[in-house]
């Protein structure tokens, strides 16, 4: 099993009354709330933490794309990825991902990802995303009804730009180019492709047909994810797709400490900040046409979201859960390394997850706590879980990062000494 360090780059200095005063942390929160110099300090902190994760044996360093939000201030994940690709040695650079419909022309993605793969010596994972409705349809103005078409056209252009040895013409609906000839091409031919989703049947078909790594990237916890992920695997099975758990990625907030009491003391405030400072105005999350009608019907009639009650969702978003209730409901996995690794083993086994994306900094967590979280996770969690799914081939992380992490990561022997 593999582990990709991740954190939402959440602005940590929002006032306590932010959720009361502003309807949304997305699309239209006042930008005056973020001080540019403090944002810069925050960016440097995340780079330091991820460089540390590279030394602690993590398989990947994950970065993502969001726009116009206090929740994740990484409008270009490729910029953060570039800071990491040039200053780390082992881990994969997991861009999860570029919002393909928002790059015009999408050649930009082919070029920047190729740059990252070259700079990292072949350690790039190419994540392609639709982007949230807040990002792609409201902040970047793509008509919802066109988003999927634009994504697929861009995906075809990018993969072809990496594959074709000669310049070629591309006559798409949204992009027309006479000469596509990306310089340089990526080291990997091509980098592994991951496509996360949120339950759309169309995305399931895509990852099954193309044998991509799928991802369930949410922070609503295990109980909420279980029905969705189970349904996904049932669907893969029914369609005769590849059931290899190494092509399933999953995000999970983890809070590791020397004792359970210390975990609560060190992380509770930051967990509450994470969940309470992310209000989303409902119309920004549900534009018509973002989901296909088929997916909407499947969700309304298939009982999606049954895994967790509406009341619990509200309480989580209001910070009304105790630390251990967040843990019990699966929003977080917290406690001693022994407890955390046991819970991850259960989760990964039950949901067939081979690529965990542990979220080790959240909200306004102090750097030293996130640093310690990363150290404990790297030394005392990861080595104990390497056996899981080790019998299954992994074509979804780069060969170079697999070799280097295996050669350099803390081993179980070291960890237990």
């Amino acid at each position: 099993m593999k582990f990709h360090w991740f954190a939402e780059v959440t602005y940590p200095h929002l006032p306590a009354d932010f959720p009361k005063k502003h309807r949304s942390a997305w699309v239209d929160p006042p930008a005056s709330l973020a001080e540019p110099l403090r944002a810069g300090e925050m960016y440097r902190m995340f780079i330091r933490l991820m460089q540390h994760a590279d030394r602690m044996g993590f398989d990947g360093l994950a970065v993502n794309e969001h726009h116009q939000t206090a929740f994740a201030m990484t409008p270009s994940p490729n910029l953060l990825a570039a800071s990491l690709a040039g200053t780390t040695e082992n881990a994969a650079i997991l861009v999860i991902g570029d919002s393909l419909a928002l790059y015009n022309p999408p050649t930009r993605v082919a070029e920047e990802m190729a740059y990252l793969d070259c700079l990292s010596g072949g350690r790039l994972i190419a994540g392609f995303v639709f982007g949230t409705p807040m990002d792609s349809t409201f902040s970047y103005g793509i008509p919802p009804v066109e988003l999927r078409d634009r994504f697929h056209e861009a995906r075809e252009l990018i993969l072809r730009a990496w594959r074709e040895p000669e310049p070629f013409a591309f006559n798409g609906e949204y992009t027309k180019l006479r000469y596509i000839n990306v310089w340089p091409r990526p080291v990997q031919a091509p980098p592994p492709v991951w496509v996360p989703g949120s339950g759309s049947v169309e995305t399931w078909d895509l990852v099954i047909d193309q044998d991509y790594c799928y991802g369930h990237l949410s922070f609503s916890g295990l109980n909420s994810a279980r029905p969705l992920v189970e349904r996904y695997w049932d669907y893969v099975d029914k369609r005769g797709g590849n059931m290899n758990p190494n092509r399933m990625a999953f995000t999970q907030i983890c809070c590791v400490a020397d004792t359970d009491e210390e975990a609560e003391r060190e992380y509770y405030d930051a967990v509450k900040y994470f969940y309470t400072h992310n209000p989303t105005w409902m119309p920004f999350a549900t534009p018509p046409g973002y989901q296909t009608l088929a997916t909407l019907k499947a969700q309304m009639e298939g009982g999606f979201g049954r895994g967790i009650s509406a009341e619990d969702r509200l309480r989580a978003a209001r910070g009304e859960m105790s630390f251990w209730e967040y843990d019990e409901k699966g929003y977080i996995i917290a406690g001693t390394p022994a407890r955390v690794r046991q819970r991850i083993r259960e989760l990964a086994t039950e949901l067939r997850v081979g690529q965990l994306i542990p979220t080790l900094s959240m909200g306004d967590l102090a750097e030293e706590t996130a640093h310690k979280n990363t150290t404990l996770f790297g030394r005392e969690v990861i080595p104990y879980l390497r056996d899981l799914w080790a019998d299954q081939p992994d074509h979804w992380t780069p060969r170079v990062s697999q070799q280097r992490v295996a050669a350099n990561a803390p081993s179980l022997v070291e960890a237990t000494r």
């Binding site: 349809t137 409201f138 103005g141 008509p143 919802p144 009804v145 066109e146 609906e173 105005w281 119309p283 920004f284 534009p287 018509p288 046409g289 989901q291 009608l293 909407l296 019907k297 309304m300 009639e301």
Partner: protein
């Protein structure tokens, strides 16, 4: 008169039609086809009224053939020509008004007279059109109905899967998704450049309290279309034909007479 399903090019669309005489074609707004609405029946008392459902709405297909506005215009040119060959009076509401103005500009030979009702299609920085896709239900209600307040039952064509308890949600999602093609993120696809080519005498009808397309846009349309006059309906919102049926029908009939 019942709703029938007609073939238009490759599309299969629902059409409400009634009455006899020269054709009046009514193109509906961004939310839905109004079905056999009282104002359509009233108009059909004096002449033939033909009200097609837009491709992509309800049970009408052919939306995938719409890549841009030119496809919409050619689709409706074919539809209008299929009615007998004479130019028609074209009445368009909201999104249908945007389509109607485009048709009249690009295919003047098929439009005798034009009526635009709360039409989308223009943008003024000093009077921005509110986002019809990101709006609370209560605010949408105010914007639609104005001082008249919400009507007991909005006129609507029969919902696909009407027996399904979620039919209204599916229908609205399907319809508004199609509307995003032309109204998102700014309902301006260049109509301002083409309006000077409208030859048909035009009546611009607008609810004084339209909260979706502010009444300032009535004057904006009228100032660019060469032969246009404005009829403002006091107290009405985005649906004057529903809340102020008599005034609406009278104004339209007087203009088309």
């Amino acid at each position: 008169m019942a709703i029938t399903t007609e073939q238009v090019g490759g599309a299969s669309v629902r059409v409400w039609a009634d009455g006899a005489g020269p054709a009046l074609v009514y193109l509906h707004g961004f939310e839905r086809h109004p079905g056999e609405a009282p104002f359509l029946r009233a108009l059909a008392g004096r002449r033939r009224v033909v009200a097609p459902e837009h491709p992509g709405y309800g049970e009408s297909t052919g939306f995938e053939g719409f890549h841009d506005m030119v496809d919409v215009v050619l689709y409706y040119r074919r539809f209008i020509e299929s009615l007998g060959g004479d130019p028609v009076d074209l009445v368009g509401h909201s999104l249908g008004g945007m389509f109607s103005a485009e048709i009249a500009a690009l295919c003047p030979q098929v439009v005798r007279r034009l009526v635009l009702v709360g039409a989308y299609g223009l943008w003024r920085d000093d009077v921005p059109v509110p986002d019809p896709f990101a709006i609370e239900a209560a605010d949408l209600g105010r914007a639609k109905w104005g001082a008249a307040g919400p009507v007991a039952e909005e006129p609507s064509i029969v919902l696909p899967e009407a027996e399904n308890p979620n039919a209204a949600i599916y229908d609205r999602t399907r319809n508004l998704a199609a509307a995003t093609k032309f109204l998102w993120p700014i309902p301006d696809r260049g109509l301002r450049r083409r309006l000077p080519f409208v030859k048909a005498p035009t009546l611009v009808v607008h609810g004084a309290e339209d909260g979706l397309v502010p009444a300032a846009y009535a004057d904006e349309f009228a100032s660019i279309i060469p032969d246009a006059r404005v009829a403002i309906i006091a107290g009405a919102g985005h649906y004057p034909m529903v809340t102020h049926e008599r005034e609406f029908v009278d104004a339209v009939e007087r203009f088309l007479a």
